[in-house]
């Protein structure tokens, strides 16, 4: 049993805080919550929407249809009413009753409660819980928690506004069928927060980013955690500075990361190559949106994978991780730092607007600091001068940091083992081979793709944030008798074609990707893992839903 509630209105009308309040309220009730946002690249006007989907079982996808539409203005109702489910109900923020909606003057109700129009969300939320057949307790508790810092009066006014909203739709209690609380975790996270907590607990101490939607959520979340974890979160002058500063921090022994989206990442390409050459552990978080150029800043896409895999001039090892859900976002963020330090090479953590803004209630993430191993060198042998780029069998050299007994020398020019400049052809070959040998070690730690629920004749091949919608789509398709499974990759680079090929042999592969060309499937083909595939693309800027995938597969 699931119910989809959609809040829509003009940017600046409070769509987000309304949706956030509902998501928190439902999570605190023990309902499973899956909340997504759709917003425009502007501060005021236009139509934004916020879906809060609730269920009695864990949810993996948003829904196309709306069971309860709450429109903060008439324009947004007119736009969204086409997506109303058959038995759907609309609440409109208006004084004019008599339409095919429940009229609710949210700001007037808030003012009647002695509050300001800004408390309209509380009145609206009161009406929503009533129409869904719930009582006011959880909403009141959430409002008390949210406003307790602002004083008793503000709390009381919000509680009263919620009660007034609840009573304003008297007679319509339970008009929309809604799931019963199911003991779901009360801890609600969005993707950005999960990534930020992962980075903070892993030991990141320097965050240096130029703001860019949709990566700024992670930057903001890290800034919010900076005092708790002792992190320096500094705004970069530009994206060129970011990886260079990270290299400096890593050189001096401190884990550091930056956050960006496609255009900013493009500016980082030279610095990424520097980290490869200096063999420094840096982590770049890349949140994708549709390109090329400025593209669609507030929308979602998976269009930068091929670029990320090949970004940076020259040849050097690089790792790309792409979390599929919120727990994986936390785990893989930590893992990104572990791998970067173990192999002394850059790691790109890839997500997108869909995953960073996605909210779900999951078991509490462990938020105590649990620093990763920096894999620093033990004391060097007496009498032997330290060499930062010592040639080793696995390609990983002992890494010291300045301030100890050894001089650490790193140069972006071709260098010999000691780090000083060299133009000797044999040294060039030896050092490049050394760096590239790290790829063998990285592939030994390749994260196996998840097959859900079990191998089948047909494969929905996906990576990163498409995990949830694909998994839900597999359930829908199997319910129709289709012999299909999902194969999801949380690690997408580097790829060992020979090791992965058996996954796909003799099976029909449908690549479900948020781009127009099947970038990951093409990388698999290039690696020799995959020969033929059909493509199920989406590149309109909107996230995949289970229903979208189901429809496309069946068509």
């Amino acid at each position: 049993m699931t119910t989809n509630i959609r809040i829509c209105g003009a940017a600046g009308q409070g769509v987000q805080s309304f949706g956030d309040l509902l998501a928190r309220t439902f999570a605190s009730m023990g309902l499973h919550v899956f909340a997504t946002q759709s917003y425009l690249s502007r501060i005021r006007g236009g139509i934004n929407s916020y879906d809060v989907r609730i269920g009695s079982e864990e949810l993996f996808s948003s829904a196309r249809k709306t069971d309860l539409l709450v429109a903060l203005n008439r324009e947004s109702m007119e736009q969204e009413k086409a997506n109303l489910a058959l038995n759907g109900v609309m609440i409109l923020n208006t004084a004019e009753s008599g339409g095919n909606y429940l009229a609710l003057q949210m700001d007037k109700l808030a003012q009647a409660a002695g509050g300001t129009a800004r408390m309209a969300n509380s009145a609206g939320a009161g009406a929503v819980v009533s129409v869904l057949g719930y009582d006011l307790d959880a909403l009141h508790k959430c409002l008390t928690e949210e406003f307790s810092k602002k004083g008793r009066d503000i709390v009381e006014q919000n509680l009263d506004a919620a009660s007034r909203g609840y009573r304003a739709v008297a007679g319509h209690e339970g008009l929309v069928r809604a799931p019963k609380p199911a003991g779901a975790p009360s801890t609600l996270y969005d993707g950005s927060t999960a990534i930020a907590i992962g980075a903070a607990t892993a030991g990141v101490k320097i965050v240096f980013s130029y703001p860019m939607t949709p990566s700024s959520g992670v930057l903001t979340a890290l800034a919010g955690l900076s005092h708790k974890y002792g992190m320096v979160v500094e705004q970069a002058e530009d994206e060129i500075a970011a990886p260079n500063l990270l290299c400096g921090a890593a050189f001096a022994g401190v884990p550091a990361m930056t956050t960006t989206s496609g255009g900013g990442f493009a500016l980082m390409a030279e610095g990424l190559s520097l980290a490869g050459m200096l063999e420094l552990p840096i982590v770049i978080f890349l949140s994708m949106r549709p390109g090329p150029a400025t593209g669609m800043p507030t929308r979602t896409a998976q269009g930068d994978l091929a670029f990320a895999a090949h970004a940076g001039h020259g040849e050097f090892p690089k790792i790309i991780l792409a979390p599929g859900d919120l727990r994986q976002a936390f785990d893989l963020t930590r893992h990104a730092f572990e791998l970067a330090h173990k192999f002394q090479t850059p790691v790109i953590l890839v997500a997108d607007q869909f995953l960073t803004d996605l909210q779900k209630n999951i078991p509490a993430l462990p938020d105590a600091p649990d620093y990763i191993n920096l894999h620093l060198a033990k004391k060097s042998a007496p009498g032997k001068a330290y060499e930062r780029y010592l040639v080793t069998d696995n390609g990983v050299s002992p890494r010291a940091v300045p301030g100890g007994d050894s001089y650490v020398v790193s140069a972006s020019d071709m260098h010999a083992e000691g780090g000083h400049l060299s133009e000797d052809f044999n040294v060039q070959i030896a050092l490049q081979d050394k760096r590239m040998r790290k790829i063998t070690g990285i592939l030994n730690e390749f994260i196996k793709p998840e097959i859900y629920p079990e191998p089948a004749g047909e494969i929905l091949l996906c990576w990163g944030s498409t995990y949830g919608p694909c998994r839900a789509a597999v359930n829908l398709l199997r319910a129709r008798g289709r012999d299909v499974c999902m194969v999801h990759f949380p690690m997408v680079w580097p790829l060992d074609g020979a090791a992965l090929a058996p996954l796909f042999e003799g099976r029909r592969v449908i690549a479900v990707e948020g781009n127009g060309t099947g970038q990951f499937a093409l990388l698999l083909r290039q690696a020799g893992a995959l020969r033929e595939f059909s493509l199920l693309p989406r590149y309109d800027g909107l996230p995949f839903t289970a229903e979208f995938i189901e429809t496309e597969v069946l068509s």
Binding site: L376, A385, G403, A411
Partner: protein, 274 residues
């Protein structure tokens, strides 16, 4: 000339008579005079002939990308504020390719010392104009002479109120050494613009040209007075003032920052480096 770094003895890639030799020598003397613990010294540079200097000194070395010495140095200083982080790089690297970083490093007033070898020409790429080349300067690329106004890094530094702003020259090595010592002793960001002849590509701003013009600031110059400092920074012609032009009152970034003002970030990790 051989380098003093214990890792290797390196032949320099500089032309005979290059001003860089005097700058390297002044730096070694300044560090020795101050008794600097070389293991806590990081020399940072970008790319260019000047940017090779760290390889010839006894120090930790971060020789990064062209134009990006400042962000790298900022990252090193943020990570471990106990390190002496000193940039030795050229005018193309610091004032051209890395211009935006210079603006923002000075806004932060991070405790990094930037020694800029300013020879008003690009050496490594063989003789093109630099951001500080004078109008009319003819090169194989600027065949009609430079039209753009020369960049004035010192005036910019004064207006941003950075901690230490000075000018010296490779043609007056004793003065240069004193300025280096003053810059290292100062808290916050230090910009030391070092006028330097390029014997190969700059036939205008020669040793003689600089010797005829550089003149120490008058004894009564008050480096705490911004108007006086700006006037000195803007003076260029028959007389070019050298010395401590400005001492700003702003705190260093690492002292003002709520997190950085505590223990060095690197201390959060218990592993002891070798």
């Amino acid at each position: 000339m051989s380098g003093a770094n214990e890792n290797s003895a390196i032949e320099t890639a500089w032309c005979p008579g290059c001003g860089n030799f005097h700058i390297l020598e002044a730096l070694e003397h300044a560090l020795d005079t101050l008794g600097t613990d070389r293991r806590r010294l990081v020399l940072v540079s970008g790319i260019g002939q000047a940017a090779k200097l760290p390889h010839y000194a006894k120090a930790n070395v971060f020789n990064g990308l062209h134009g990006r010495a400042l962000p790298a140095a900022t990252g090193i200083k943020m990570a471990n504020k106990k390190l002496l982080v000193l940039i030795t790089s050229g005018d193309g690297d610091m004032y051209g390719e890395g211009g935006n970083h210079l603006v923002h490093a000075m806004r932060r007033n991070i405790g990094v010392k930037a020694f800029v070898h300013n020879n008003q020409v690009y050496g490594l790429t063989k003789g093109q104009a630099s951001p500080t080349s004078e109008p009319g300067f003819v090169t194989k690329v600027q065949v009609d002479g430079v039209l753009s106004a020369p960049f004035n890094p010192l005036a910019l530094a004064v207006t941003l109120g950075v901690s230490f702003v000075a000018r010296s020259s490779a043609v007056i090595p004793d003065h240069l050494q004193t300025m280096m010592q003053e810059a290292i002793r100062a808290k916050g960001f230090a910009l030391l613009d070092i006028l330097q002849p390029c014997v190969t590509f700059n036939k205008v701003n020669t040793y003689k040209w600089y010797r005829d013009r550089v003149k120490e600031l008058p004894k009564n110059h008050d480096p705490r007075d911004r108007d006086q400092a700006l006037a000195a920074a803007m003076t260029w012609g028959d007389e070019i003032p050298v010395g401590v032009i400005y001492r700003g009152a702003r705190p260093a970034f690492e002292d003002a920052h709520p997190i950085l003002s505590g223990a060095p970030l690197v201390n959060a990790f218990t592993q002891t480096p070798p």
